[in-house]
């Protein structure tokens, strides 16, 4: 079993069109590292140059915002569902 990561539609072209991918790690940081290894280019869309989550993107572990958990050190485990949600301006 692994961790399910849900990819927002604008980033799905980096994941071969998949809306959900499986990754591994024990923290959100590790998970994003694994995501980047599998799908190069995804992390820079989510994090800035210093590795911090961009201010218009949020990550939810099992539908809870990691900013209100332990940030990028929030623990993740097999079976968890992680969603990446960017702000969207299109109308």
């Amino acid at each position: 079993m692994a961790i399910t990561v849900r990819i927002p539609t604008p980033l799905q072209r980096l994941t071969s069109g998949q809306g959900e991918v499986q990754c591994e790690g024990t923290t959100v940081t590790e998970l994003l590292g694994d995501l980047e290894r599998r799908y190069p280019g995804v992390r820079e869309r989510i994090c800035d140059e210093s590795g911090k989550l961009r201010r218009f993107v949020n990550i939810f572990v099992n539908a809870e915002d990691i900013r209100f958990l332990q940030g990028d050190q929030t623990a993740v485990k097999d079976g968890d569902e992680v969603s990446i949600i960017p702000a969207i301006a299109g109308g």
């Binding site: 849900r6 927002p8 539609t9 604008p10 799905q12 069109g17 809306g19 961009r54 201010r55 218009f56 993107v57 949020n58 939810f60 539908a63 809870e64 915002d65 900013r67 209100f68 969603s83 949600i85 960017p86 702000a87 969207i88 301006a89 299109g90 109308g91």
Partner: protein, 270 residues
């Protein structure tokens, strides 16, 4: 206010709903909604709100109809290309429901006029096409204590959040700052499918109807996310951020200041 024979006939299918009924319909007829942007989200939203009998409907948009709008912006027709969107929107909405008072504003929402314009309506729907306007609308609604239904669409999906100022998470609680100009593609660059805009714009109108008629639970403190590739819907919980710049414990945004919205390339069609 008592309903006329024509109103009873026109709204009969919602009058028999326990969720709306005569009381809810009377509330709708007395209410007003401002739709920001007569585009992909604003079009279906305004059509459903006019059809449902919202008393006064404002639409603010400073653009002209482009032929590339027509696959999703269903307020406008081919013959409208080149004309102000506010004009075609007004005509289409008046044809749908002549009893609705339509206020078409062919101008851009700015830090200078936002308070006055938004202040005249009960609920605001944001279907604009750029981040500066979205954060301006959010901040203005929070400062005015005005309920806001925020929606965004791009590519084949999008999201909706209802903001009850002072009671539920606002846009800045969820996404503290907009991306730098150009960091995130617009609809023009990334593309957008009209049906996704239709679905999300309809949901925005639905949220406004719920708030105005007074039924159900608002889509507050949770973000509704539509993934149009899978046709699946998800929801994530959000909450008020005590550090929020506009609705937190020590807000740094206390007024709308011109120039805070960066003059990025987003004046164009999303």
């Amino acid at each position: 206010m008592s309903l006329t024979k024509e109103q009873i006939a026109r709204y009969s299918r919602q009058l028999i709903l326990p969720e709306i009924g005569v009381k809810g319909q009377e509330r709708l007829l007395r209410s007003s909604v401002l739709v920001v942007g007569a585009g992909g989200l604003g079009s279906p939203a305004a059509l459903y709100l006019a059809a449902a009998g919202v008393g006064r409907l404002g639409l603010i948009d400073d653009e002209a109809v482009a032929i590339s709008n027509l696959h999703r912006q269903i307020l406008h027709e081919t013959a409208d290309v080149g004309r102000p969107k506010s004009q075609s929107a007004e005509r289409r909405l008046a044809a749908l429901n002549p009893a609705v008072s339509i206020q078409a504003l062919p101008q851009r929402l700015t830090a200078e006029n936002a308070r006055e314009i938004l202040g005249g309506f009960d609920v605001v729907l944001d279907g604009s096409d750029n981040f500066p306007t979205r954060y301006l609308v959010n901040d203005a609604c929070v400062l005015l204590g005005k309920p806001l239904v925020h929606g965004g669409v791009i590519h084949v999906g999008g999201q909706v959040l209802t903001v009850l100022p002072g009671r539920s998470a606002c846009l800045r609680c969820v996404f503290p700052e907009p991306p730098a100009p150009g960091a995130v593609p617009s609809c023009q660059e990334a593309g957008v499918v009209g049906t996704a805009a239709g679905l999300l714009g309809s949901l925005m109108a639905h949220e406004a109807l719920k708030l105005l008629a007074g039924f159900g639970e608002p889509l507050a403190d949770r973000v509704f996310i539509f993934d149009g590739r899978m046709s699946c819907v998800r929801e994530v919980a959000v909450r008020r951020d005590p550090g929020c710049a506009v609705c937190g414990e020590a807000p740094t945004i206390r007024e709308l200041i011109a120039g805070r919205e960066p003059a990025c390339a987003s004046q164009q069609e999303g």
